[in-house]
Symmetry: C2
Subunit: 336 residues, 2 copies
């Protein structure tokens, strides 16, 4: 069987933008985000519309970073956590751009970047965008209970990030998308919706092991392996499971869900989660590090838990998926 | 601006399979479907799991038509109408295949075929599959009211098709995928969730007009223009809006939602809808007609209404999208 790793010679993130809420702005990465609103409402009357507005703002900010108008973007790959992905369909409605709706749960940012890179690299589009979002208040009332109920949270529970990220993918740029490995849906019997890190970790294990089995690069090639939102629990499980397979990634392992909040100062339990988690951390913090060549090669593993409130109520376990991209800093210019 | 029509030289539907419920089997196309279950339950205890099982069966049937095992399929593009697209994530969990989750509402079959064709044509995959489903009982209780309530339906309402379709997309075959035009999300102020045909028609108008503006082919090139699930209401609106723009497609226009049920004998109001509608009609009825060269060139326009029950309750109008593919019969072989 041939390698399942997709290789791209002509795909790069040209610009990325992030929009976050109050808690994310107060976190350790607060200064890096492009926009924030300390009311979490973004001028809207419902949490769902606030989430849509974040997507619109993120995409608009990414457009302005490239100083281009919407007509230059030939495809949108977008999705989110809300039922029927309404944050994306309403949030990006203003833009007259062909739209591919995605559902990859919290892996959506990376799924979108993979499909944007694949289609741009193949020459179908000059420029495509991946956009995603999540909102704590909208997610809580859809997946668990409205925040007004004040329900107590489990120690393994994660905090859905209020945030949106937009990535502009073109042919040549400083943040190269060199490889991608799409994830396989994995379910290992975890049915506790308050422990999604544990449900998603086996999917990340599967993808990372498959990557290193097929890749030409050894572990030492990478400055960082970063997962989307396994949180503290899931990240520990990932490292332990990989160690039992002979792969020790602990020295270079990070998780966006752990990075986005201060574990001591902010009471966020196992860490952040949601489509907005990996999207905002990648857009605001990791992409600039690659651009400045402080990171040369990283693997970003977007993790998604693919259950619904109904499937959990019906006693089903949680399927999960983990999509991987290999991002590389472009070669330094000769004149440097 | 260059044409937005994607051209494929190496993309074809190699096999397609359909699985339906009782009402669809009783309809005019009943004999063409591969599998049906007159209980609509497919051996499962919940409607949601029944829908998942239909996807599994449809994909398995498509595999068996090609006499291949799952390992030959290098990517799945799948999605459905249920919250968080659980029919797909649970239904295709058995298969050890990279998974791209989609949300295109009822346009998902065509969105999946476009992305499968684009990635296969570009050489990323030898073989990819597009799979989707919908289930009347699962959709009713999610979008409207559980069927046990016996709610009266509006004359413009459509009937969600209980069915799943799977399409195997490879490089060369008798049903060529020659062009695709991804849709733009359009919202024209329709907020009546019992009249989705009216909400989706403007999106289909937009896509069809853009296609004929940019295409090298005139209307006469096509034997049929078929929409996914505009139903009687939406189809009439489509034809009228196109006529006002100088394009008269009425002679060759069909709609899968109108075709799948008998308007006189089956009380289905404006016709069928749902992801399973275009998927099963295309897989069971249209693909064989192209294979037998009884249809030479058709345009299939998958239509999707991108609202959620919450967005409707919050008073939002319905955004819609329409994705187009141009399917062509392969040249007759020399020896024929």
């Amino acid at each position: 069987m041939r390698s399942r790793i997709l290789k791209f010679n002509n795909a790069a993130i040209l610009a990325a933008a992030s929009v976050v809420g109050k808690e994310e702005y107060k976190g350790p990465l607060g200064e890096y985000f492009d926009l924030h609103d300390s009311t979490d409402k973004f001028g809207m009357n419902t949490w769902e519309l606030a989430e849509s507005e974040m997507q619109r703002l993120a995409f608009n900010t990414a457009l302005s970073k490239l100083s281009i108008c919407e007509r230059s973007v030939e495809a949108l790959f977008a999705g989110d956590l809300l039922n029927q992905c309404v944050s994306s369909s309403y949030g990006l409605l203003d833009f007259d751009i062909p739209y591919f709706g995605l559902y990859g749960a919290c892996s959506t940012a990376i799924e979108g970047i993979i499909l944007a890179a694949a289609t741009v690299n193949a020459g179908y589009f000059e420029l495509a965008a991946a956009v995603t979002s999540s909102h704590y208040c909208a997610a809580e009332r859809q997946y668990r209970t409205p925040i007004e109920y004040g329900a107590q949270r489990s120690p393994t529970a994660q905090w859905t990030v209020t945030g949106a990220g937009a990535f502009m993918v073109g042919r040549k740029g400083e943040i190269k998308i060199t490889e991608a490995l799409p994830g396989i849906v994995i379910e290992k019997g975890i049915s506790d919706a308050s422990n999604m890190g544990a449900a998603m970790a086996p999917a990340a294990v599967n993808t990372i092991l498959r990557y290193f089995k097929e890749s030409e690069y050894p572990l030492e090639h990478f400055d960082m392996i970063v997962t989307g939102d396994l949180g503290k629990e899931g990240g520990d499980i990932l490292c332990e499971l990989l160690l039992s397979e002979g792969l020790d990634i602990r020295k270079i392992y990070r998780d966006c869900g752990v990075m986005i909040y201060d574990r001591e100062r902010q009471d966020k339990h196992a860490g952040g989660s949601g489509c907005g988690c990996s999207a905002t951390v990648l857009a605001s913090y990791l992409c600039p590090l690659i651009k400045r060549r402080e990171l040369q090669n990283i693997l970003v593993v977007g993790t998604g838990a693919m259950m619904s409130p109904s499937s959990i109520q019906q006693g089903q376990a949680i399927p999960a998926v983990a999509h991987l991209v290999h991002l590389s800093a472009a070669e330094a210019k000769k004149e440097d």
